[in-house]
Symmetry: C2
Subunit: 266 residues, 2 copies
DNA sequence: GTCCTGTTGG
DNA sequence: CCAACAGGAC
């Protein structure tokens, strides 16, 4: 039996923040780092930094400028077919098999400002993405270990946001989104590992907006970044080791998201 | 009798290069630093850095984004009326009296690419600026000590450019510009101090384009930055101490211009 | 607030 | 090549 740790982090430009990843890796020594919003093409990814950090195995799904996801690993990655969640073919999905586990790394569209599919196509795109996720996982049941990580851009629970009532009409916490995410979870047979480790009644955030420089004072965060496992893999989850690396929000030139990390005994 | 040193430097964003100014000041200890292209509003000027460096006296003529000039001094600055050289009212002129000397710090318009006033309004603007300079200095003769410094964006002499013939049709060295500058100098009674210190037959540059990363190899520079004195002050110029700080072009994240410095015994 | 992509200016 | 700006996104 060995141990495997997986981290997920919306890094908001991997080129600008390779140094922060280095710092996180030194402090927490994850085996696998899943990134979102790398904001570069495959060829622009700072591969060298990752190989030097002990991650020779890279699976990069980049594109010019926006979005882009990547998986960096100490262990060999096996290429597998990627589910097609994105109607507009943006680089938002990376999938691999590693140590016998299927790993999906996702970056769900943020959805714009107005939570109205009629007037806001970005919101429609987000809901379409979530609907495709639901359909895919319902159609592909598996008893093999499966882990889904990423910036899902939805804070599903009451205590996944600083103020439930205040955010009910704010994109990321509207009922239509939280219900859509709940359905993905239920029909895919997923378990939200954060809420195994930390009771749902306890506030838990992974993102704090850039727009309030005093984010530390009033702690107005949201939990947008998730690690889900299917029943098979959840058995091997070590709840005591689950962590959200809130410190990283206070580092020099930070991402607005912080790393979330889970350990498995496999 | 005391000594007074004046430096001029097109800094190409004072906020980005405050650290380079610090390094220059430590190495050369100028009494007065005249800057061009500060590229910020008055309120955005890094005043704190200058006071810490021993320059509590600041005269800033900033504007949003482009141009902008400033004078930083160890000695008290007296506000005086500023000549109006700029038809478009850009922040290109700063004037003060310091230690009994009148100091004009100028940033002449670069003039665009095409040396043709018909098709290139920037070139017309540059020539209009130079014509206004000529008219002003001709109309304001003085026996008081006067020094004019700045990025004049003209390399007047054959050996003020890496290749005289190659640049005769390139903005900064066209006959219409060099003659215009010569007329300012002649009618204003100015002396080009660099050419007192260094014979006109010797190549002398203060600017090397960003566009050739191998600027050091072929040394394709131009002398665009000048220190002129009227006859009164020129008597007190110490030619042996004149310097062009070429090293600064090789510093980390440099300006494309380097500091030019003159000492006076007053 | 911060980053990306253009464009314009030097 | 390097810096500003504007516009869009999150």
């Amino acid at each position: 039996m060995t141990r495997l740790s997986i981290a997920t982090w919306n890094i908001n430009s991997v080129r600008l923040r390779a140094g922060l990843i280095q710092r996180f890796v030194e402090e927490r020594r994850p085996d696998i780092v899943c990134l979102q919003e790398i904001k570069c093409r495959n060829g622009e990814f700072p591969t060298h930094v990752f190989t030097q950090m002990g991650f020779p195995h890279l699976h990069i799904r980049g594109q010019k400028g926006w979005h882009g996801v990547a998986i960096a690993s100490r262990f060999a990655l096996e290429e597998i077919s990627e589910p097609d969640f994105c109607p507009q073919q943006e680089a938002r999905v990376a999938a691999v098999r590693v140590k016998g586990i299927t790993l999906h790394n996702l970056y769900v569209p943020a959805g714009g400002d107005e939570p109205d599919t009629q007037i806001n196509p970005k919101f429609a795109h987000k809901l379409a993405f979530l609907a495709r996720m639901e359909a895919y996982y319902a159609a592909h049941p598996t008893n093999e270990p499966l882990v889904l990580v990423g910036d899902l851009n939805v804070a599903p629970g009451e205590h996944d946001v600083w103020g439930h009532k205040q955010l009910l009409n704010v994109v990321s916490h509207t009922p239509v989104e939280t219900q859509a995410l709940d359905k993905v979870m239920a029909r895919g047979g997923f378990i939200d590992l954060a809420r195994i480790a930390v009771p749902p009644s306890e506030k838990l955030f992974s993102w704090w907006s850039y727009r309030s420089p005093d984010w530390t004072k009033n702690d107005r965060g949201r939990r947008l970044d998730h690690i889900w496992a299917n029943r098979e893999l959840a058995k091997q989850f070590d709840a005591d080791s689950f962590s959200i690396h809130k410190n990283a929000r206070a580092w020099e030139k930070p991402s607005d998201h912080v790393p979330v990390m889970a350990h498995f005994d496999i």
